[in-house]
Symmetry: D4
Subunit: 225 residues, 8 copies
């Protein structure tokens, strides 16, 4: 089965403005090695998401050592990447400490693609003064990522208070009806705040990519003479 292999989407950078990341969940060691071989051969950098500590440990030493690994977000970065700009254009708001792994995936993805972000954590609506105290830091930014599990009321409240693009990331924390993040997902999709957009449960990477699409559109406008 020699050609049961991967076909990297090398033209993605040209089409979309950012290259392909490697979703590592469900991948076997030999598949990861083959992907890293190709990238190494072509001198491409790599963003690895959902890379478990066990998967990392199973890689050959030289490959493992070449990865800048973050255990909270389970992301690895190989090779050079862009430096984030000084002034963040993206705010990142989370409802609770339990959302931090998913939020970290977004932060690392933005970092890999050279975007800084302004983080505000643990400001869920059970004590809404925590958000209201800091809402003015968020209001001027063109993009906000809002992370919340359980009832996920935070993204609705944020989208009712700020004019930017608000991207909700439902998080799978919780138990009972909240288990798996479906209650959070449905709450954000059903939001009464106008224009809130949503990504898949726990998809910090996807939310970061959506933010990238927005700031790249801003860049084009800003670049016009």
């Amino acid at each position: 089965m020699t050609d049961r292999d991967h076909t990297p989407d090398l033209r993605r950078q040209t089409r979309l403005g950012f290259d392909e990341a490697v979703f590592c969940a469900h991948k076997r060691t030999e598949q990861l090695v083959r992907i890293m071989d190709h990238a190494h051969r072509d001198q491409r950098s790599l963003l690895l998401t959902r890379l478990s500590p066990d998967q990392l440990a199973a890689l050959p030493d030289s490959y493992r050592d070449s990865i800048d690994y973050d255990s909270l977000s389970r992301t690895g970065i190989c090779g050079a990447h862009q430096m984030p700009g000084a002034t963040p254009r993206i705010a990142l708001v989370s409802a609770g400490t339990s959302d931090s792994a998913v939020a970290a995936e977004a932060v690392r993805t933005l970092q890999y693609y050279g975007e800084a972000c302004h983080e505000i954590h643990d400001v869920g609506v059970a004590g809404i003064w925590r958000l209201l105290d800091r809402i003015e830091e968020i209001q001027p930014l063109p993009v906000v990522l809002a992370f919340a599990g359980m009832d996920a009321a935070l993204p609705s409240v944020v989208a009712g208070l700020v004019p930017g693009v608000v991207i909700a990331v439902p998080v799978s924390t919780g138990y009972g009806v909240a288990a798996g993040g479906h209650a959070a997902l449905n709450a954000t999709l059903a939001s009464c705040a106008p224009g809130l957009v949503v990504v898949n449960i726990d998809n910090g990477y996807g939310a970061a990519c959506a933010a990238l699409r927005t700031v790249k559109a801003l860049d084009k406008v800003g670049a016009k003479p």
Copy 2:
């Protein structure tokens, strides 16, 4: 099938402190008539819930005319009932105009059992200043009923701000993932606000009964020498 008939729970007043209401959905005209016959014979008052205009119209004239009917809440009241007290102990908060039918069922139920309530409507979290402007009216009351469809973020925010018993009533308004009220139900059950309790979707009657149980407990304490 002469004994396919109803068995009224006549001892409920004694056990629970309030008598049985008649849930009219799915009942046929002859069943409603038989229930009204019994109540009339025993000189009992009746609260009829989920009574559709068509069901009302199909009743014999004398029975129809004896009913104080409210088309918004689809409730009917037959016979005398207690006068609500002057000072409400129960607050009723709703997120949007679309919740008014369910909220009205609660108001009518409380009215039938002699409880006033303080109503604040259309204060959903998409414009959270509307709730914050009026939160001080709610804070002193021992019981709050919070009605919301869609993402149902309102009950969580309320329960984070007031110390009383907060009873969430998810409402079936909405479309897509919100249709039927399951997103609202799950959001209230998964609430990060401590001690929020929940009743079935659209169950304004049940929420009112829970409020009654609470204020009757207060009455007992207040009555102690």
Copy 3:
């Protein structure tokens, strides 16, 4: 129940940059009249969504006549609104004729808020050449709304081909597993295309608001000296 009334979110324009629309589903005639009374008194324009022909017909003559009604999208517009700019910045792509009602809701919403859009219809993936033939019209635009029911493969394909913000709108057309749009919703949330964002099923209005948030962010950048 004199204060069972609505509390318009009059500060929304200031906070978010666009005023509140009226979601008419589940509202009774008297509620719609009261909302129109308030708007008329304050000389505010109104966007009415999910307004059924029956609801329209039940309004008093003068109010009905003041509404610019579109039966496909079930939207009504009262009063003046902004003129769309000459050059669209928003593309609108739909998979099939059955998606046209939802797409029309987005078009009308954008029109009310003064945004033109470039529409391309009936280009679902069962005959993918239809999309590929026209992809170059979409690629330069900063925002794309992609409407699809059934398997909703179109938004994924679009988001893999263009660099802008792509907002998927799952549509409830279909039968069997597609009924209600949940298969379409899940397919867009699970998309393998990076950075695709999603709104609730049939939420043309919400998708338009998300597009507005994006183009308003572009306006701010463009307005900088």
Copy 4:
């Protein structure tokens, strides 16, 4: 990522009458340590819920030793807490031995906040005489917590027999359609007993908080001259 940290809701005691508990599931050791650092610095007591034996074991020795841990309920208490009153005002009823972990979470929460409770266990409806034998112990109390998994018929039967506030806690024990507690949840929400209220599956903590809200309202009435 230095500010990916927690924002304790220090004003909760003032707003709600009881302070914030720490939900430990999904939290990492360093997050728990940071939370305990803050509490220690401020000389605040802490209630820790869903604290697994593994999480406990991973804490630094001094912190681990400062925790009064209960392995059945997976709760930890740090620091001083109020003494429960002599006469319980809260009854706790459970259907089976399998519900004991969730019931214990409620007992420990009430204990932390200084409330005694009267416990009656293993009285599910398969042998209903067990409940009927002891119903008179429950009837006088203003609040009842009813725990049940599987078909969760117990809370309905209790709410039909006693006048107090009855809070159902569906439990995730069971297999097949009962797995995860959704059958129990739906049975309690759909209860034909008037005014039964419900919390999330396995949410012993939340049920205790709801009971606290009720008894604190009683305290206020009782405290009036």
Copy 5:
């Protein structure tokens, strides 16, 4: 399409001891007529279930007049059928008036096949004394059919009190989580009472057939010398 026709299971009487009934839902007039033609030709009796008043009205006069129709149960009986025995061996218990249509389908089915049943109605667990008052009428019978919608606690309680075969029939009455009868179905399947068996939601016909299978087994034992 001349052979798109029905293939009656004429050997069912021999195999199972009772002949085939006609499930009329989804059937068109011409299909019903063809089935009645065949039965008439062969001088077979017929039990028609789920026959709507509209379907009945659309039949040719002579066929319509030959049907003994019951509008509550939506059943029709054509031709002769056995006389029920004097002493019922089957008890039928229902939780509320709303269950009567489904219960009536069972009664009519039993009647068609010559079995009497002892009916006790409206004895749901919200007022459990109603059932306890009459439990001794049920205990001696070898088969009990228990009908309940909403939380369907009744069948569990019954199966915990009587030794016979208890067949639960979940009923689709109810709203919110109870709509469609799934909460009732799951509650009966998850019952903690040992040996409760269940049929599909609203399947009064099926429950009657299961009862028939049981009493026919009793007949065989009784018939042994």
Copy 6:
């Protein structure tokens, strides 16, 4: 909105070997007229599926009269179509009379594309002798379409008995857990018979297209010298 229009997939015949059908559900009269205008202009035949009697009645007279309409299957055929071959290569088996509308959609589709089929109806597994009596008619054919609602056991039994390609079509007939056809769908997907393939619930058209793909592959082999 002049270009909110359809984009017919005119190259489908070349790519797939059969032209595009028109799925009429959710389409408005003006959309159907525009589609028929195009077909008429290009002298193309049309297969219209899910065309309701109301939609048919709303068409202009000349268009309505040009349609060969079948009310059972809700299909319309405009223009010439191929003559079915003399010897059917496709068997069509259905479990009950209630499946006939869906089966008829398949028959009409096959007829439009020039394929005969051998039909055997009402042979569900409750009386399995009906199928066993006729299994030898099915065994020699290379393709079998098996239609069943409720528990959909028929397709599994067929696929265990015949060597050809067996395509299961779950049907939405039934009530309770069978409502909507999901139980039937899952039963066919979970089939223990090897190689059974499945289409969407009620998708008679899709099953026929799958059969067409198979017989066209046979034609190619047969056409080889």
Copy 7:
């Protein structure tokens, strides 16, 4: 928490004719020990179900040694129990080897209560001749337990062929849509075979109890003079 203890249903033998079994899943060692202490003290026998090897191993030696443990069914029997009769009245049919653990739970339960059963295994409908070859062994018996996972077509086929009481036991074997046994459950509930009754997924114990209820009813008839 000294009275967080169990309340054995000692009167069950009198009410139902068989004593209470101990469902061990979710029980802790100390709870199992306490239950065995009570039984030992009262000289009662015990049937333990869902007893995992780990739970068994954690018991004190003397208790572990007193248990007749069967690892396939995960059942333990302590103390004396009745001898099964020579001639089985209960047939047990299973679709595949994967159903054997659940079937074994039923066999062991019947054995504990003194009933023999006639077992026929691995006769699923993918090769229906296997069932047809042995159907005559099943037909004379008054009760049949039918075990099947996946599509669970077997119980429907059996109930169409034999006159006795047929109790379907859906089994949680399978993957994809079959995972967890819900497809099997729904297929058996939706069965087109008249009078098939169903128990919860994997509930071999419950099915055995239902069979016991039936044969005890037969015993009463047989015992009459």
Copy 8:
């Protein structure tokens, strides 16, 4: 329980043209050994699917050594099997590296039954040029197996481009709404491409069997004089 044993379907080769495979999930070592004993005794070859490394390791040495095991697909082959033909008639297309285990199950199954297949991997629609580049390799083949998880858009696109029988295999890779493969399954069932057929999630074996049924039908036609 000596006859709790398996009943191999030895006539399957004759009926269907291919013999029975052994689905090893949920089987215990002694059951696997018994099945291998029988096969060895009868000198039959065996295809073992879903055989975990742990199950393999637990087999007696001689049996373990006789198995040609593939760890990616978790399949084992014992004994001789047919040689695949030189020219593949079956194409196998997969969307991503994560689908390779399921695809490998199909390849191994086809190999066991003597069919070659042409494999094209990692060509999901996020970079659709990868598929379009190679579509001409697929178009001439009579059968295509299309594997995809997540949104599973690939099978729809393929079925819109090629005339052969296209069999979709939804794969359970993914997280959030994609977890378990239900989003992928529903997307393929809801496909707008005509005649796409579907098997259960992760059912590589079943897809291969469906392909076998098709090529065997082709063989019969080709074999005709």
